[in-house]
Assembly symmetry: C2
Homo-oligomer: 120 residues x 2
């Protein structure tokens, strides 16, 4: 892979859940996903074997794990090991967050290739 440079505004968004859109940047070993939650949007409980690391840039995103809500504001972050079931919700103003996955979410890549998302 050659170095890649992207402007996220030019990356085609894909829908993660109703009102939750992601703009991905894929490496070989890891990927970054710039996510925008519309006001009040939620992500249903799910799990995946991929490690997930995140940081909130704007608004509030809560991760719910084992029935406990972890509400995160700007410049708060988390690490979720693989296979930990989690759901998410955001505050009334929505949220902008970055998720990092390792390994790459090939399910995301397939959805993005289907939609023609390639960056700049």
């Amino acid at each position: 892979m050659d170095p890649q440079f992207v402007r996220f505004d030019n990356v085609t968004a894909f829908t993660l859940a109703e009102g939750v859109e992601g703009r991905p940047l894929f490496g070989d070993r890891a990927m970054l996903n710039l996510i925008d939650f519309s006001a009040g949007a939620t992500v249903p409980a799910h799990s995946h074997p991929h490690e997930q690391i995140g940081i909130v840039l704007r608004g509030m995103q809560a991760l719910v794990i084992d029935g406990v809500s972890h509400e995160l504001g700007p410049m708060e972050g988390y690490v979720l090991p693989g296979n930990v079931e989690h759901s998410a919700y955001c505050g009334p103003e929505g949220a902008t967050v970055i998720d990092v996955f390792s390994p790459v979410r090939e399910d995301y890549r397939e959805r993005c290739e289907g939609s023609g998302s390639t960056g700049e």
Copy 2:
């Protein structure tokens, strides 16, 4: 590893280069580093086998690869494969950027453990 939650303000910063400080969040497979460049700070040319993915949050960060400067503003990102030599500089207002590495930069972990950085 259990899920981790951190407030980056509470993470002890370590010095990457003069005027360049990082606040790391370590997973098992990947890590995130929240980096603050002081005005005019630079990172000398270096390379590492780790894949690096980044996004600029504030200001301008330039990556110099093979003598070519790639100037990145807010919400612009990049992927650098491992072993690609690069240096960096920022604009007069400094910059805030997120770097992601996979695998984990164990050299960073050792420096942080030495300084007692553990998150919240």
